[in-house]
Amino acid sequence: MSLLRAEGLAKEFGGVRAVEGLDFEIREGQVFSVIGPNGAGKTTLLNLLTGIYRPSAGRLWLAGRALAARAPHQFAAAGIGRTFQNLQIFFNMSALENVMAGRHLHERCGLLAALARTPRLARAERDCRRLARELLEFVGLAAYADAPADSLPYGALKRLEIARALAAEPRLLLLDEPAAGLNPSEIRGIDGLIQGLAKRGITVVLVEHNMKLVMGVSDHVLVLDYGRKLAEGAPEAVRGDPRVIEAYLGGAEH
């Protein structure tokens, strides 16, 4: 069944159309990849799907219901999580606290309880801490748990973002170039991580330049060019599409 559906999605910046008339559907449990040359509108699309940008036109449905969220935190509450292309780590906390902060949606805690540290809160905190450690273990960062986030190497930070996003238990996880800047062995690790997510039943939207990674893990690929849909389909079908080859080879970048 369809988890997320977009209809006529568009975003304009002062006359420049970054995304235009986009229709697509992401099915539950899929790894859904979005590819395209630089400036094709991929990150803009993710920003639209997380409420960071307000669409100029178009509508979104989540699990069959119109998405009423406005602010990004409401998108998060609706079950959409993400990572960022240029890292948005909380560098003022430890790795573990980063993940715990990611669990914000599942912690009911009033101001007074927080100030007085009620026994109930203390229990909830213990659970939260345990869960965060498990997630760090899942992404392979158990050793860094108590280290300040700003002391972690780049590759580890990429995984930390994934762990933080997972802490919110999203139904839909958007990964913005998780492999960018990583070496081949680290990329293999990310590959395995994404497959692990799929096994957990999490629907993944992957924006990525690394074709090998995309073709290896995706169930469905959406190709953007100049903010419009260029092609869509199974990885093999997209790979052979002459328009896609034209866009990539004809473009200046690759």
């Binding site: 997380t50 409420g51 960071i52 602010a71 990004p72 935190h73 998108f75 998060a76 509450a77 999580g81 993400r82 960022f84 948005q88 780590i89 909380f90 560098f91 003022n92 906390m93 606290e97 715990m100 902060a101 990611g102 669990r103 914000h104 949606l105 912690e107 805690c109 101001l111 309880a113 927080a114 100030l115 007085a116 540290r117 809160l121 905190e125 939260c128 933080r164 996003a165 802490a167 919110a168």
Partner: protein
């Protein structure tokens, strides 16, 4: 927790070193400033939102309680509570629009807010006594007037320990993590489901309420209040205390308040050179310890181990 116990020990043992009422006075002022700074540090150090207007909330607390008690005959405890609530209420009302601003624009807006409050206090002399100030009745707890430096020392000391305890609890709770998260990256915090506007407002209101409470206590302690404590110069002084001691460090805020409250008393030996020395100390400290006193010393201690 170790830090909290150490603080409590300092508060308990300090009287051994306090020889006279003047020493107690300094200790009380340190405590009152430290309470404000611990609150302000939640906003500036943890949530990353600079306010250059907190003396305004301090002034509302001080004058609110003073006016209710002196002019309308409220029992001081009730006026204290009402004035604290008034500071919080004002912060809540203006906080939402103001906190949408970022960085220097937020600094300017809070500065403007503080200045407006201080102009109102200075101008409405029928209620506030104007620039020459007004007398404030003493604080009475259950019918007994709280008077004398020693009684006040214990009250302020207990309140300081309590404030630090509450602040430490808050920082290490989901709410505190949310505040720190939106300081680290507001967009990432939002995407993690943290309502950044609500949490900024929370920190703003909480710090304003604490400043208001400390203001009201200061007024009742001193027995006399002038608009000087509501001016932008005092706002800046408070921020300097927080940054000097160390942003995002509760004990840093306490140490910053202590050093910068006591320093001018020590620097009187420099006579006319006092300002030069004070400015120089401030600059050198921030140049060589840019993260503030306590975090820098803590880092040095870790390195030596």
């Amino acid at each position: 927790m170790r830090g909290l116990l150490a603080l409590a020990a300092v508060v308990l043992l300090a009287p051994l070193a306090l020889a006279n009422n003047y020493h107690y006075e300094i200790a009380i002022l340190v405590g009152l400033n430290a309470i404000v700074c611990v609150g302000l540090n939640l906003l500036i150090g943890y949530a990353g939102q600079v306010s250059l207007g907190h003396a305004g909330f301090f002034g509302i607390g001080a004058y609110g309680s003073a006016i209710l008690a002196a002019r309308y005959g409220w029992p001081p405890l009730a006026s204290l509570a009402a004035a604290t609530a008034a500071a919080a209420l004002l912060a809540w009302v203006v906080g939402r629009p103001i906190l949408r601003l970022r960085g220097h624009y937020l600094a300017m807006a809070t500065l403007g807010l503080g200045i407006i409050i201080s102009i109102v206090i200075t101008t409405e002399d029928r209620y506030t006594g104007g620039p020459d100030g007004m007398s404030v009745p003493p604080l009475a707890l259950a019918g007994f007037a709280l008077s004398g430096e020693r009684a006040w020392y214990w009250l302020v000391g207990a309140l300081l320990v309590a404030t630090v305890w509450l602040s430490l609890n808050l920082i290490d709770s989901p709410v505190g993590r949310a505040l720190r998260a939106l300081h680290g990256s507001e967009v990432a915090a939002e995407v993690a489901g943290i309502d950044s506007a609500r949490h900024k407002l929370l920190a703003f209101v909480l710090s304003a309420a604490i400043a208001g409470l400390a203001g009201a206590l200061t007024a009742h302690y001193a027995g006399f209040i002038t608009p000087g404590k509501a001016t932008f110069l005092h706002s800046i002084e408070l921020v300097v205390m927080v940054v000097f001691g160390g942003m995002a460090s509760t004990f840093g805020a306490v140490v910053g308040a202590a050093v910068l409250t006591a320093l001018p008393q020590l620097l009187t030996v420099f006579k006319e050179y006092e300002m030069v020395v004070f400015g120089g100390v401030m600059m050198l400290t921030m140049i060589f310890m840019p993260t503030g006193l306590v975090p820098t010393l803590a880092m040095l201690a870790r390195r030596r181990r």
